[in-house]
Subunit: 263 residues, 2 copies
């Protein structure tokens, strides 16, 4: 038996009552780890760079081990971008290479840039037209019930690739992107963080997780993610998969590393 | 700053989706205690005599220290009842002595006896007519945002009165009853537990917390509580007080003990 542990924290009041989103987290852990993981989530919500939470909701649900599917991490590539403009241009080009129509890639970036507040989840967007398909407004579509299969192995792998212990955003996003890219009809994901101190973001495709060191201005508390999906995708099935299919993510068998690229 | 920590756990699915209520807990603690209290609540939900939870919801909210009101514990009296019938008769007599009309006391006991499933919260009942006033159905009215002011002092006090460490139901109920009896318009409370292994219950009045050792059959997983209120009470104000007014409960200054009574 595993436990899905989901946390969301807000400031001012609860999310439902219009509070400001502070942080969220998703884990899928054994019973032994449950209480320590929950405690760590609470500590994190109370000491986040976006502010201190006044409201934290933690949900724990059992997940039968036989329901879990394993997927493999994407290779990680870092693109050192000189500034945000260059970062966004590179990200846009990467989306187009992955099969997102140029108009949709541009619309996606504009949608993230134009967000008035952070999305807790993701916008789901037609990869051909760029039109938003989900109806979740600021809530977005959450990706739940996923975790790394073996944390020590994962940290070792990340260290070997040069992503040290402080890279908590990267660590979590690589797991999320692995689940997202395993979803039916998924073309690519674009994301940057709502952490004001974290300017990097990424494009995930079925081939790689490509991190761009600058995708948003330092100090901006507004972030979000977009899933670009194939035109004929069954949206309900996709959203169910993202929310409910338990996924454990494995480290690639033979390295999976990729050299850093500068541009 | 204090933190209100509220837990509810269900089996099968969430409460909202019709899952069976397993356990609930309410605490009001300092930041230092927050994570250990949350972890203890999760452990408890996963090892309850009513069953193992499949769904746990934990809510943490900040409470400004200046909003907290202090109230004093009621003296505790234990009535050793030879069986459930005698226990219920004694409880009914005590309710009537506290000002509950005989018809309302009888109706209240019948309502608890007739519950098809456990109430998570309390029924609010007119102390004259016995008619239920709240509209919360199986959910009932929850009492939140209360705790003991000084846990060591409290445990010491309980030990001195002969209520040892294993009396977790009593420990929590005495705190809840102290808040309930401080509410505007409250006449008396009647409660027995949904823990199948725990047959005791109590009547709280503004004068005392009277525990009856047998109020329900051993093995029954159905429990609940009733608040008997004065006829002219403002229900919304009362429910707001029970849910939102932060209360810390003090041990009585001069003992507050009362001898056990057998009948």
């Amino acid at each position: 038996m595993l436990y899905s542990v989901r946390m969301r924290a807000a400031q001012g009041s609860s999310h439902e009552q219009g509070g400001k989103h502070i942080s969220g987290a998703e884990r899928l852990v054994s019973g032994e780890l449950l209480t320590s993981v929950a405690a760590a989530m609470l500590r994190r919500a109370l000491s986040h760079s976006r502010g201190t939470a006044d409201f934290i909701n933690l949900t724990v649900e059992t997940v039968p081990a036989e329901a879990v599917r394993e997927v493999t991490c994407l290779p990680i590539i870092t693109v050192n971008t000189p500034d945000m403009i260059a970062g966004r241009e590179s990200a846009q080009a990467m989306l187009i290479r992955a099969g997102v129509a140029p108009v949709a890639a541009a619309a996606g970036i504009s949608a993230l840039v134009g967000l008035p507040v952070s999305l807790r989840g993701a916008m789901v967007v037609n990869a051909q037209t760029g039109l938003r398909l989900d109806t979740q407004a600021e809530r977005g579509v959450r990706v739940s019930r996923m975790d790394i299969a073996d944390e020590q192995e994962y940290l070792h792998w990340l260290n070997r690739l040069g992503y040290g212990n402080n890279q908590i955003h990267l660590r979590e996003a690589v797991v999320l992107a692995a689940k997202v890219m395993s979803a039916p009809g998924m073309v690519a994901e674009l994301c940057w963080s709502d952490d004001p101190e974290y300017t990097a973001g990424y494009v995930a495709t079925p081939a790689a997780y490509t991190r761009f060191t600058q995708l948003k201005p330092y100090g901006s508390p507004i972030g979000g993610r977009i899933f670009f999906i194939q035109e004929n995708t069954d949206l309900k099935q996709l959203v169910d998969y993202l929310q409910y299919q338990p996924i454990l993510v494995k480290v690639p068998a033979a390295g999976g590393a990729a050299d850093a690229v500068s541009e």
